[in-house]
């Protein structure tokens, strides 16, 4: 399991066409101990170097050309899951509803209260951290699952379906002992503590349980 990145490593992207706002926010974020990257438009943000994806995007609703909501849509389309905190000079309810529905962390009205903003950023960073953690866990789980042999995968499919060893043996036309043997391997390779644990993992991996025999 990877650790939550240190605050210094957290990157906040600021997209606002107003230089004062960009500069002010950048400074505020720096004062809170994070790093800040600024972009004057949506296009600039989309064409940034992909070296390190930010942990949070502070996005102005009213942007020239591609608007804030448009950018949110584009990010979703390209699978960029960076949490978004919207800022707007003059909020309106339809826009805020649309933004929140599309998964924005917060919708704040300028001039934004320092505590509110920092809290929203923390929440976003936390969400980002969780997202990233889940991604790490999933890839480990997938690695473990990949390390299973084809037979073991078959057995696991039966196991998580809730079939008894005997039933599995009959199904696979192998001995019960062989089933037990495979099962032991599976539990160890998958690092599952219990059957329930394994079932949860399978669910995460979206392995379909075999209900054919039921």
């Amino acid at each position: 399991m990877r650790q939550l990145p240190e605050p210094e490593a957290v990157i906040i992207a600021i997209v606002d066409d107003d230089p004062s706002v960009r500069k002010g926010l950048q400074r505020l974020i720096r004062s809170a101990g994070w790093r800040a990257e600024t972009f004057a438009s949506a296009q600039e943000f989309l064409t940034r170097s992909r070296a390190e994806s930010p942990n949070c995007v502070l996005l102005d609703l009213q942007l020239p050309g591609v608007s804030g909501l448009d950018l949110q849509k584009r990010m979703a389309e390209v699978g960029l899951e960076t949490p978004i905190v919207f800022l707007t000079g003059h909020g309106n309810i339809p826009a805020s509803v649309q933004a929140m529905k599309a998964g924005a962390v917060q919708f704040l009205t300028k001039p934004v209260d320092e505590q509110e903003l920092l809290q929203a950023i923390e929440e976003a960073v936390e969400r980002d951290r969780r997202t990233r953690q889940q991604q790490v866990e999933m890839s480990e789980l997938r690695d473990r699952y990949e390390s299973l042999t084809v037979r073991e995968q078959e057995v696991m499919q039966q196991v998580i379906s809730g079939m008894l060893n005997k039933q599995i043996a009959a199904e696979l036309n192998i001995t019960e002992d062989t089933v037990k043997f495979h099962r032991g391997h599976i539990m160890r390779k998958m690092r599952a503590d219990s059957l329930a644990d394994l079932v949860r993992m399978a669910k995460n991996l979206a392995i379909p349980s075999d209900k054919r025999s039921v």
Binding site: S31, T109, P111
Partner: protein, 1439 residues
């Protein structure tokens, strides 16, 4: 006793009788002479009545052939108590053929009765004859030139023989001659007497002259009129009485008539005894003898002043009427009674672009708008047949095809019988009023609609502040109904408790004044939260300027309010900075080092931020002369924590120094120590140079006054003289103290002091120019005559500030005047001496002066040249006689005056002898006796010719007996009437009187006959050709010494022309008055200098002056509205220079009504060297008020529209403000964090605060701009940079553009000329165009949404801006309509924006128009006039 009638006594008697001149004396002499012969008892004369007999004989003429006893003489011896001696025996009449006397008369043969006793058949009373012992009778006819005059008879007590009878017959012949002669003589005398009386009694001025034009007679009427004596007027003296302007012309005409012998017929003004002049018709005819040579000129002067004035008035009125007609702001027309157009005035025809002919068939012509035609025809038909004044409003087509609204008023003009002569029509352009009314109506309607439609909160309040109406937006916001607003606690419920008291106080005062105001307050919404609102109160005023309603608009400024609060809290120096931004700003450290200067400073001086940081700029931008001084000043002042200022020159990058006022303000910390100095600099170059110019002007003036070679002094308004220039004091040789105040009276001649002091006081009281002559004591003690003049200097209100006086020495002029008078006084006598040989030795100077001959020329015998050639021979002969006889003598002769005119002189000469008795020298004088001589001559010739005058004078003249029967009419009279003399006599003249006038004149004639008073009357008098003309009949009485009326004399003067002129004047005047009344146009004729003003009735009505009052300049000025008095004074001042003027101002009449007047005045002529104006003025109050109402509505609408637009921009505005606020808040929070952390990061914190300052400023600027746009201000014209003006708008709508994905691009001209305009109004136009453009592109998705704003200089007068979009564009039909009010293509649009924008630009003198593009989209262009320094107003039509 010898024979009773001896030859010799009878002859002697005949001589005596013939020498008698009077008839009475002749008759008496005859009878008495005969009666005194021995033996004669009784002598008698009977005469036959005859026209030749003088009236005194009282001969009664009926029966016709009857002798009357006229004289009798004798001595009775036996008839006691009887007196036989008498004249006028009218009791006794002897018919022809009756008795002896009758037989003598009938037969013309004498009868001799030798013995009465023997032949007693002739004696009527034989007893008488017997008693008186009559023996013989002799009767002889009196025959002269074969005409029987009468009979003379003698009764003798002694027997008469044939011889005596024959002698008596011879005597009778002589007696007949004597009687005839005496009769003729008597008749002549009587006629002459009558004629003189006639000529003097006729009420017409009459005169005669000699053939050479020398006037030898002027009748009493003339002399009385002119107030001259006959002597004064004689010759050419009458010319004195002729008006100087007419004199030369009259004399020239007269002389040309004299030369050609044609009758004189001219007009001239003659001075009356009271020095007034009246016009006379002067006519004169030559009187010729049989051979045709002129004996005399006879003439009359008829007073035609009334007619003349009538004509002049008519002429003037015709001119007035024509010029008024053509210059009247309305259209005038005249129609025949059936409605056919006859006359249109010039402006009317110009408007229609038609000739009179083309307008005849107006019903079918295209001048009337088709929609109005049917109605017009109906009203017209009814109006013409109804015969009453009527009116109509309709549209008329202008030359260029555009219809405008007109109001026409038709008034019938009737003759005396009431028949309509024609119709007068005044047609006034009411298009503006009509449109204004329509616009007003629709704008009021729409205002209401709009109030409900617009998302702004609107209240309408009554004057007491109670709620009249609130719009839906308010009700929605507060969640209440309209009824709730009427509750008493409405305000307390919805206003924030903290605001209620404050607001109540503010409103109570502000609601009383008719000026807009605003306040800010919190209002409770239905969500239970208070929000801040800006509440604007606008009064709606009625025509009297009283408050009718209050319109109150509330704008949600909650966001702004919060922003402001944030702003206030941010930093203290921030607000300081904002307050001083618009000028040159610098920030100094406490030691005076500059740490900051704003961009304005950098731009002006051209220095860079680096220069400032290095501190190396002072010597570059400050003037070398100032540096040292400033350093000292600043060093001292910077140490003290109080603001100070100084003035210094600063070098601009253009290389020129300009003066600036520097203000230093310290920023103090909480302990009161100086932290910073804030410095603002203001350009005061213009003020500085003005001050210098002023100083030098004053210096020059003072030098000038003391240098000019004139005597100058000044006085205060109270008359205190406070200044005399140096020359004055030098002249007087006295210091100023002796002259100051009222001391100056000490140098005035004691006789003059009172006069000048009174004069000065009068002028002080009246404010009139002081002009006076008086003697002033010079330094050497001599009094000299000086002319003093003082003129008041007034301020704009007419108050006298000062008197300026100048004085001129006129002593020499004065003295030469008196010398001249002495010379004139001593003219009459010329003195000279002659040598014994008769040649001249010496001649006085006066001779030289009189004759124009020099002493040398006159010397010796040269003097003869001065005498009239006709008189010279007699003179020389006389002179020879005297020289020979050595006696003194005298002679009359004519002496030539140097101008060629001869005058009669009495020349007397006396010898001077030495001791030996020898004549050594002759002394002589020549005395002017010309006047006497002429009088004598006149006397001689007058009498001879007067009789002829009557028939020659060009006036109808007549005389009548005391009973009124006309007994004489002159030749003219007969010629005029065509009557024979018999027809005119008695009462025959009445046949020539117009039947309608006859009763009147006959009655009047009888009336004056009874009273015996002179009288006059006007009546129509028939000419020979049957034409009646108006005459003035005048009659006057001739009375004898006892006062009994002896005769009536009269004249008839033709006044027909005058009468007609009067009638025309009357009619023209009526027409004019009617036209004036209809058009509310008054006219006036004014002489400003003489302060004489002739107002028409309508002018009186307009000013509401009492028609009986005499109009004065001050009276007019007093009615002028105080604000317009400067305008009025300026107009008057211009008019004083003699130029035509046009004017427009308000008056406040005595009953307080305010009227707008408009008019013009033109120079009509000159009177005594100053201009006389004729003018028209019109009451335009109605259209002015309508115009004002429209303007108010328009500005109201413009304001509401602007507010509406701003409201629509709320989101954008909030965004624009929130952007910098956002930066401020972020930066402030960050810096707090930097400072609060363990490792304080000062550098970061400082930078953050610097950014706060910058952002705070930016927020402030945005708010200022919005406030400026939202504020309702009076229109101003200032110098604007259009680029900057547009940029400010773009700063506000930036977000609106962004939200609509619109890209805004500007293409501003670099060197754009400044324009003259109202910033807010122009920004409203730009805002409107930009918002329209953004909206037009809202549906565009297939191309970039681009908004391009371009500015450029297009020509010398204008700057053009273009707003171009790539939107949907407009159709070509719509291009024409989009500028109309309430035309809109937008779903939620009002359709007012473009209409208002266009009217804003029009009032700036610019234009706004739209053009479709080839590419999608629209271009709007507008132009604004450039700013001109001098006449800082561009042509503007709005107010």
């Amino acid at each position: 006793m010898g024979t009773s009638l001896a030859a010799e006594p009878l002859l002697s008697l005949a001589v005596t009788v013939t020498s008698e001149q009077r008839v009475e004396s002749v008759l008496l002499s005859i009878v008495q002479g005969l009666a005194s012969q021995p033996g004669v008892a009784l002598a008698r004369i009977w005469l036959l009545p005859s026209a030749d007999l003088p009236s005194f004989c009282h001969v009664v003429s009926d029966p016709p052939d009857c002798l009357c006893l006229v004289a009798s003489a004798g001595t009775p011896i036996n008839s006691p108590g009887e007196d036989w001696s008498f004249l006028q025996g009218h009791f006794a009449r002897v018919p022809f053929n009756v008795g002896k006397v009758g037989q003598v008369a009938a037969s013309r043969h004498p009868i001799f009765v030798k013995d009465v006793a023997a032949q007693n058949d002739w004696v009527v009373r034989t007893d008488w004859a017997k008693r008186e012992e009559i023996r013989s009778f002799a009767g002889h006819p009196l025959i002269f030139r074969d005409k029987l005059l009468g009979v003379v008879a003698v009764f003798s007590r002694q027997p008469l023989g044939q011889e005596e009878f024959t002698w008596l017959g011879l005597f009778a012949n002589q007696a007949a001659v004597a009687i005839a002669n005496a009769c003729t003589e008597e008749a002549l005398r009587s006629s002459e007497r009558n004629l003189v009386a006639f000529v003097n009694t006729i009420p017409t001025a009459a005169w005669t002259t000699r053939p050479d034009g020398y006037c030898d007679f002027l009748n009493q009427v003339w002399l009385d009129y002119a107030g001259m004596t006959a002597e004064q007027a004689q010759g050419w003296g009458w010319a004195e009485a002729i008006h100087p302007d007419d004199r030369t012309k009259l004399v020239e005409e007269w002389q040309s008539c004299l030369a050609s012998g044609t009758p004189v017929d001219t007009e001239a003004r003659i001075r009356r005894f009271d020095s007034s002049y009246r016009w006379f018709l002067i006519r004169g005819n030559p009187l010729r003898d049989e051979s045709g040579s002129i004996l005399k000129w006879c003439g009359t002067c008829v007073d035609i002043d009334d007619r003349k004035r009538g004509e002049e008035a008519l002429h003037a009125r015709e001119l007035d009427a024509r010029s008024l007609l053509d210059s009247m702001p309305g259209f005038l027309a005249r129609l025949s009674p059936d409605g056919t157009p006859e006359i249109f005035n010039r402006p009317f025809l110009q408007y229609l672009g038609k000739t009179v002919e083309e307008t005849r068939k107006w019903k079918t012509s295209d001048v009337i708008h088709p929609d109005d035609l049917a109605h017009a025809i109906e009203v017209f038909g009814n109006g013409v047949s109804g015969g009453q004044p009527w009116g109509l409003e309709f549209r008329l087509r202008r030359l260029d095809g555009i219809y405008r609204w007109f109001q026409t008023r038709w008034v019938p003009v009737r003759d005396v019988e009431g028949r309509i002569l024609h119709w007068n029509a005044l047609t006034t352009d009411i298009d503006d009023r009509k449109k204004a009314e329509e616009a007003l109506q629709s704008s009021e309607r729409n205002l209401k609609l709009m109030i409900n439609a617009i998302p702004t909160y609107i209240h309408v309040l009554n004057t007491d502040g109670s709620v009249h109406y609130v719009n839906r937006a308010v009700l929605d916001y507060m969640g209440i109904t309209l009824d709730d607003t009427q509750k008493e606690d409405y305000r307390a419920l919805f206003f924030h408790p903290e605001d209620v008291e404050r607001l109540r106080a503010e409103r109570r005062e502000a609601l009383l004044r008719p000026i807009p105001f605003e306040n800010e307050q919190r209002v409770l919404g239905k969500d239970g939260k208070y929000r801040w609102f800006l509440i604007r109160y606008n009064p709606l005023l009625d025509e009297q300027g009283r408050i009718d309603r209050w319109y109150v608009a509330a704008t949600d400024i909650d966001d702004r309010k919060k922003a402001e609060e944030a702003l206030q809290s941010s930093e203290r120096n921030l607000s300081l900075m904002i307050n001083v931004i618009p000028t040159f700003i610098g920030v100094l450290r406490t030691d005076g080092l500059v740490v900051y200067v704003n961009q304005t400073v950098l731009d002006y001086t051209g220095i860079t931020v680096e220069d400032v940081e290095r501190g190396e700029f002072r010597s570059r931008i400050h003037h070398p002369e100032d540096i040292e001084r400033l350093r000292e000043e600043r060093r001292a002042a910077l140490a003290r924590p109080v603001p100070f200022e100084n003035e210094q020159r600063m070098l601009g990058k253009d290389g020129k120094y300009r003066w600036f006022l520097f203000r230093y303000n310290p920023l103090l910390d909480e302990q009161g120590r100086i932290e910073r100095w804030y410095v603002a600099a203001f350009d005061i170059e213009d003020r500085k140079s003005a001050e210098e110019a002023l100083q030098s002007n004053e210096r020059n003036l003072s030098v000038m006054i003391n240098t000019i070679p004139a005597l100058i002094h000044t006085g205060r308004p109270d008359g205190y003289l406070d200044y005399f220039n140096r020359r004055w004091l030098e002249y007087l040789g006295t210091p100023l103290e002796n002259m100051e105040g009222w001391n100056w009276t000490g140098v005035i001649h004691p006789d003059d002091v009172e006069g000048i002091v009174n004069m000065w006081r009068t002028c002080l009281a009246s404010g009139k120019v002081f002009e006076h002559e008086c003697r002033v004591r010079r330094a050497d003690g001599e009094y000299r005559w000086m002319f003093h003049c003082k003129v008041p200097l007034r301020d704009a209100t007419g108050k006298i500030l000062k008197w300026y006086g100048s004085s001129v020495d006129i002593d020499d002029r004065k003295k030469s005047e008196s010398r001249l008078r002495q010379v004139i006084d001593t003219i009459p006598t010329l003195a000279w001496t002659m040598l014994p040989d008769g040649s001249n030795e010496f001649l006085s100077k006066r001779w030289e002066e009189y004759t124009g001959l020099s002493v040398d020329e006159s010397h010796g015998w040269g003097w003869q040249a001065a005498f009239h050639p006709d008189d010279l021979p007699a003179l020389l002969k006389k002179w020879q006689q005297l020289l020979t006889s050595g006696q003194a003598g005298e002679q009359e002769a004519r002496l030539r005056y140097h101008d060629g005119v001869y005058r009669w002189f009495l020349i007397r000469v006396e010898p001077f002898r030495d001791e030996t008795g020898k004549i050594r020298r002759w002394y002589g004088t020549s005395t002017d006796i010309d006047d006497r001589k002429r009088a004598e001559n006149a006397l001689q010739s007058n009498e001879r010719n007067l009789g002829l005058i009557i028939n020659t004078i060009p006036t109808l003249a007549w005389s009548a007996a005391p009973d009124g029967a006309v007994d004489f009419v002159n030749q003219r009279w007969l010629e005029y009437t065509g009557f024979s003399p018999e027809q005119g006599l008695g009462w025959g003249w009445t046949a020539a009187i117009h039947p309608d006038d006859l009763n009147r004149i006959a009655e009047y004639w009888r009336l004056i006959m009874r009273t015996g008073e002179p009288g006059e009357m006007e009546a129509r008098f028939r000419r020979f050709d049957g034409v009646y003309r108006w005459f003035l009949f005048r009659g006057n009485t001739l009375r004898d010494e006892s006062g009994t009326i002896v005769k009536w004399y009269g004249t008839n003067t033709d006044i027909d022309d005058r009468k007609r002129a009067e009638a025309q004047v009357e009619q023209a005047y009526l027409r004019l008055t009617e036209a004036q009344r209809v058009s509310k146009t008054g006219s006036f004729i004014t002489d400003l200098v003489a302060d004489e003003h002739n107002f028409s009735d309508e002018a009186f009505r307009i000013f509401e002056f009492d028609p009986a009052a005499k109009v004065t300049f001050q009276m007019c000025r007093d009615t002028i509205h105080p604000e317009d008095q400067p305008t009025f004074d300026a107009v008057i001042a211009r008019a004083m220079t003699g130029t035509d003027v046009e004017f427009g101002f308000r008056i406040v009449t005595s009953r307080g009504a305010v009227k707008h007047l408009r008019g013009m005045a033109r120079v009509m002529g000159q009177s005594a060297g100053h201009p006389v104006f004729i003018g028209a003025l019109q009451d335009v109050t109605e259209s002015k008020l309508a115009e004002e109402a429209l303007n108010r509505a328009r500005s109201e609408l413009a304001h509401v529209t602007r507010i509406t637009t701003l409201n629509a921009l709320t989101a954008s505005i909030a965004h624009e403000i929130n952007q910098p606020l956002s930066g401020i808040v972020s930066n402030a929070s960050a810096s707090l964090r930097f400072l609060a952390g363990d490792a304080t990061n000062l550098e970061e914190a400082r930078e953050a605060v610097r950014d706060i300052v910058r952002d705070g400023k930016r927020a402030g600027e945005i708010i200022t701009r919005i406030r400026a746009l939202a504020k309702r201000t009076a229109t101003r014209r200032e110098k604007l940079d259009l680029n900057e003006t547009i940029s400010e708008v773009l700063a506000i709508i930036g977000d609106e553009a962004k939200r609509n994905n619109v890209i805004v691009r500007t293409q501003f001209a670099d060197a754009l000329s400044p324009v003259a305009g109202d910033r807010v109004q122009l920004q409203q136009v730009v805002l409107n165009l930009v918002m329209n453009a953004i909206e037009a592109m809202s549906s565009v998705s297939d191309r970039p949404r681009e908004l391009i704003i371009t500015t450029q200089n297009i020509d010398a007068g204008c700057v053009q801006a273009t707003v171009e979009d790539s939107g949907t564009g407009i159709t070509s039909e719509a291009v024409d309509k989009i500028f109309d009010s309430f035309y809109t293509t937008k779903a939620g649009g009002m359709g007012m924006g473009l209409s208002i924008s266009r009217s804003i630009l029009q009032s700036h003198g610019g234009r706004l128009w739209a053009v479709g593009k080839d590419a999608p989209g629209t271009m709007f262009h507008f132009t604004v006039p450039k700013y001109h320094e001098e006449g800082s107003h561009a042509p503007a039509t709005g107010t």
